[in-house]
Amino acid sequence: MGWLQGGVTEEDRLDLTATGAVLARTARLAAPYRRLGIRAFFLLVAWTGTILAGPFLVRRALDDGIRVGDSGVLFESVVAYLAAALLGYVLYRSAIVTLASVGESFLRDMRIRVFDRLLRQALGFYDRNKSGVLVSRMTSDIDSLSELVQFGLLMFTGALLQLIGTIVALGFLSGRLLLVCLISVPIVALASVKFQRDSNRAYLVVRDRIGLTLSALQEGIAGVRIVQAFGREELEASRFSRTNDSLYRSHMDSVKVAAWYLPIIEMAGTITTAAAIGIGGWWVRSGELSIGTVVAFVLLLQGMFEPVQQLSQLFNLVQSATASLSKLYELIDEPIEVPDPDEPQSLSPAGEIDVSNLSFSYGDGPRVLSNVDLTVGAGERIAFVGPTGAGKSTLAKLIARLYDPSEGSISFDGVDLRSATGRELRDRVLVVPQEGHLFTGTVADNIRIAKPDASDDEVRDALDRIGVLGRIEGFENGLHTEVREGGARLSAGERQLVSLARAALADPAVLVLDEATSSLDPGTELIVEGALEELMTDRTVIAIAHRLSTSQRCDRVAVIDEGGIAEIGTHDDLVAAGGHYAALFDAWQRGQP
């Protein structure tokens, strides 16, 4: 259930070719910043040089100055050392800024690119992908990249350069002594490989458990009303405690991994120093090495083991960032199911909808609609009725081109929907879904969603046109009342009214109401529908409703059953014909006042 974190498991391990592909693509995407990137790299190289210069200058001061009593050489070395330090200051400073600007620009592009892609995907994509996973691409995956950009990259490159630079410098000082110092390499290498592997494993477990804990937390908070309604507070707390405890244990496992590794690196550092003193000192005694060289060695060694340790810790970060990148690329590469045409045709302001020989199934699921033919005239009001799961909503969604037909076609005023742009189509055809999902913000913000530049007066006007302005203005802050998370501040019916007001504000040529009034009391429903009817004269309305009072008020009724249109005609004709609809209406009537 680790969906909050996007289910991190083995897929976090990439093989080499995949890593290569990811890196190559990243380089291509980052092309606009290539020159800056190269500059950052050379700044870092130069900075590493200034760090390594220190011990060399100490050696010169010792061997050529101090030991022979030459204050001049000492002075020269001191000045050079100071200059190197100051230069290092400047280089480091601009390296940080340059690297950050490359990384952050790349991240900004990436965020916008991925989100754009998400927005362009059709609803079918959202049927297949859990929303938690999609959100985690934009959050935890991009976060792990930004962690890398914000400090990992600098530290990683810096540490790598410093490690390489130190080894080169040591070899340059004395190849023989370097060989001696290499005695610790096998241990360090083995320990680092093992650490890297163990800590990666521990890290993945931790990430997984964090995901579990967060979703348990989230569910516990979001479902608190149900928990309390059933008196399960204590039970839920103890269940959470178990999840939380497993997170604690995974944390401890990862602490243990680091707790043996760090000492080994620290020991290796000191033992190498001991060897340099012992054997190097021996060679100094025998005159084969200068004391300055040994001292420079000792000083350089101090700066060598920290990078090793940093590298093996940062390696996980780099690895998970690469994995994140590859997941993001996968998302970007996902084809768009309902694409805009290359050469769009423009749509006339109004027109008839023609569904011809349409068949549809969700993904590779069973046929939901087969061979449907239907013409809805401009300005007509038509109701879709029928049992649950018959395909009413599906047909409505196809007419709004939220999906494309598997076979057959739908056209608006003679233009196939697939040849129009999504933008233009949406200006003509709007769908009001049953759950009028509200976004955090005020009532007015929520109504404006289909027409962002609408003024408060226009919003008020829209509410007025569906006959409910008084109710909303009755709230303490009127239009500017915060609806809170998921619209919790409003009653169920009020949420639907806001959703309907959105449609009234946008004023489209074709309006699809998919059970958009199911939570309203019939009285309010009548008022709203009456108002919409007036508002929508000359406009087409497709209404899906379980309350047959709605279908009674429409020009025509289409009974949808088992994936096709079973009957179609005016309410009166269908009742008179004594078929499906008549039976349905009869059942409904018997329940009516």
């Binding site: 100055g65 309604a229 602490v255 120093t273 000192g281 959105r502 009285g523 009516q592």
Partner: protein, 618 residues
């Protein structure tokens, strides 16, 4: 919650986390401090061990440069056997390594314990907090209390042994240096407090900037979450452009704040590196001259050099620790604020037990006694005014009223999700406030208008009130709720998993599972808040039959808009603007009450049976 292995020394780069307002130790922080001190006290054994390890680490660590110095002077330049000094260095290194590991382990164990324990406490407390609190507190906010704030808070527990070690190192090194050569020591050390100062400044500047980045990232995540959750609305209304623009704004904000963070890094980090380097230059210049003048040995010079290097990290850390402490206290304060919020809806100290049912006196009588109620603790506009209603044991009452009149509010008051502002509610003669909540909520079960199902199997969801319920009970509840057929049609039947809020079920199916969940509790009073709105007309009669059976056995309050459901009730109460405006049977009201007809959109009495309602009627 960063899963990343934090480095042993949380430098400026191991990111602190979250969150708004006062970061500095303002007086309001005493609660946070109290929480922290309390947490530390509970961990005193672990802390003691950690500090012991830190002491050991310091002792051996400080010995190493001294041994190197002696190795150079007595071994390389003198006549002592070299291997002896090498061995000493190696042994000191071994021990300092062991203590380092020990210190790290205990430090993190203490911190993770504090974290786990506090999170448990928080969760349990959040579960108990009254609904009015949850109404105004966003989920995300509580999430960050139990997550990022807690992270910050536990960080400081890690700091205790580490800071002890660092402080000891600084003192020990300074003493050793001063003993060796006071003047050189002073010269070498003179600049180093600057590292401390810079570290402190850096931390102070960095933190608000990092918070800003986190705030912007959270806002960006908010846009993404909402957009994905509301994708049907976004697509249906063609709001892609609006959302895309929102995201660009947020992405630009994140970019701007992140660049600001890197500027701060660029301003301080190189300086923090530079100062000790200058110290090294001074040591080399003055110390080198001393060696030339034979007042200092080469080994001592090298030793000095190594000591200066050794001081950099601890000083930098000590500079940051103050700011980190303040942050932890501020985070602790926010956590304590939640923990100290007393639940308003609490059990009485001497609860009264509900009377048991006997043959002569059935149970489930509920009385609303002149109830007045408004949200926001009564400070909001009144929602219910003088709501007075008695429902007898076994009776079923329908509440009918226009949108927003307060029907759901009545439903929420009965299980005591909120306390009434005035008046009282009695169950079987006992004021709800005198009952134990657990008992009350077993007795009164509410089916909410928006169904929330947990991730888990269908069975687990239905058996929510009683996880140990037998399969037979679960099946029976499902049958009564009209859910059994479709559940058994699923491949896995009752073991079907519901993911992400159970969205894979249709609205009608979810409603029926949540009815089954309430029925399993076998309550005295069942409240159905518009719980059949998503049922299609072909199923109408099935539900009707099922409802009839359910209602026969207990007191029932039904909130509905459908005449078919309403007419099942013994009595109908018409609610308008928070007041009861009429009462009677469905048919009486239809015949006599104009407002009732208006609400149900029914035409005039008498004609209702066969005349279709003309559009825009009444």
């Amino acid at each position: 919650m960063s899963g990343q292995q934090p480095s042993d020394e949380p430098t400026g780069s191991s990111e602190p986390s979250n969150e708004r307002d006062s970061i500095d130790g303002s007086p309001a922080n005493s609660r946070g401090r109290h929480l922290l001190v309390d947490a530390l006290r509970r961990q005193r054994l672990g802390l003691l061990m950690g500090m012991g390890a830190a002491l050991g680490w310091t002792a051996f660590r400080v010995t190493v440069p001294r041994l190197i110095q002696l190795g150079i002077d007595r071994g390389i330049r003198g006549t002592d056997p070299l291997w002896r000094w090498s061995l000493f260095i190696a042994i000191a290194g071994m021990f300092s390594g062991i203590f380092l590991g020990l210190r790290r382990y205990t430090a993190f164990r203490n911190a993770r314990r504090v974290e786990a324990r506090t999170r448990d406490r928080l969760f349990a407390h959040i579960q108990r907090l009254h609904i009015a609190y949850h109404d105004v507190t966003a989920t995300g906010e509580l999430m960050s209390r139990a997550n990022t704030d807690l992270q910050q808070f536990q960080n400081v527990v890690t700091m205790v042994p580490i800071t002890t070690g660092n402080a000891l190192i600084v003192v020990a090194v300074a003493v050793v240096m001063l003993l060796t050569d006071p003047v050189l020591a002073l010269l070498a050390l003179i600049g180093l407090p600057l590292v401390n100062l810079l570290g402190k400044k850096f931390s102070e500047k960095l933190h608000p900037a990092v918070l800003a980045v986190q705030k912007e990232s959270a806002e960006l995540a908010g846009v993404v979450e909402e957009t994905v959750a509301g994708m049907r609305v976004v697509k249906g209304f063609g709001a892609e452009g609006v959302q895309a623009e929102k995201l660009v704004t947020e992405a630009d904000d994140v970019y701007r704040e992140s660049i600001r963070v890197s500027r701060i890094r660029a301003r301080y980090l190189p300086g923090i590196e530079l100062v000790p380097n200058v110290g090294l230059v001074i040591v080399l210049a003055y110390g080198g001259q001393l060696v030339i003048d034979d007042q200092l040995t080469i080994g001592q010079l090298v030793g000095f050099n190594l000591y200066v290097l050794m001081l950099i990290q601890p000083l930098r850390m000590l500079g940051m620790v103050v700011a980190q402490w303040q942050r932890a206290i501020a985070a602790g304060d926010r956590i304590a604020e939640v923990l100290d919020t007393a639940p308003v809806i609490v059990d009485p100290s001497h609860p009264t037990a509900l009377p048991e049912a006997t043959r002569t006196s059935p149970v489930g009588r509920i009385e609303f006694n002149h109830v007045h109620f408004g949200y926001a603790g009564g400070s909001g506009p009144p929602v219910l005014t003088d709501f007075h209603l008695t429902i007898n044991a076994g009776e079923s009452v329908a509440i009918v009223g226009p949108t927003g009149c307060g029907k759901s509010t009545v439903a929420r008051l009965a299980p005591r999700f909120y306390d009434v502002d005035d008046g009282s509610i009695l169950l079987d003669g006992i004021d709800l406030r005198e009952l134990e909540r657990r008992e009350l909520r077993r007795a009164i079960s509410l089916v909410f208008e928006d169904t929330f199902l947990f991730s888990g199997t269908i069975r687990e969801n239905i058996a929510f009130a009683d996880p140990d319920a037998s399969m037979d009970d679960v099946r029976q509840a499902a049958t009564l709720a009209g859910a059994r057929d479709f559940i058994e049609d699923f491949e896995l039947g009752f073991d079907t998993q519901l993911g992400e809020r159970g969205l894979s079920l249709s609205g009608g199916q979810r409603q029926r599972i949540s009815i089954a969940r309430s029925l399993l509790a076998n309550p005295r009073v069942l409240i159905l808040d518009d719980a059949t709105s998503a049922v299609d007309p072909t199923k109408e009669h099935e539900i009707r039959d099922a409802m009839q059976e359910v209602m026969a056995k207990r007191t029932t309050i039904v909130i509905a808009h459908r005449a078919a459901t309403i007419s099942l009730a013994d009595r109908v109460v018409v609610l308008d603007e928070g007041r009861i405006v009429a009462e009677g049977t469905h048919s009486d009201l239809l015949a006599t009450n104009e407002r009732y007809r208006e609400i149900l959109a029914a035409s005039d009495a008498g004609e209702s049976d066969d005349t279709p309602v003309p559009a825009g009627a009444s």
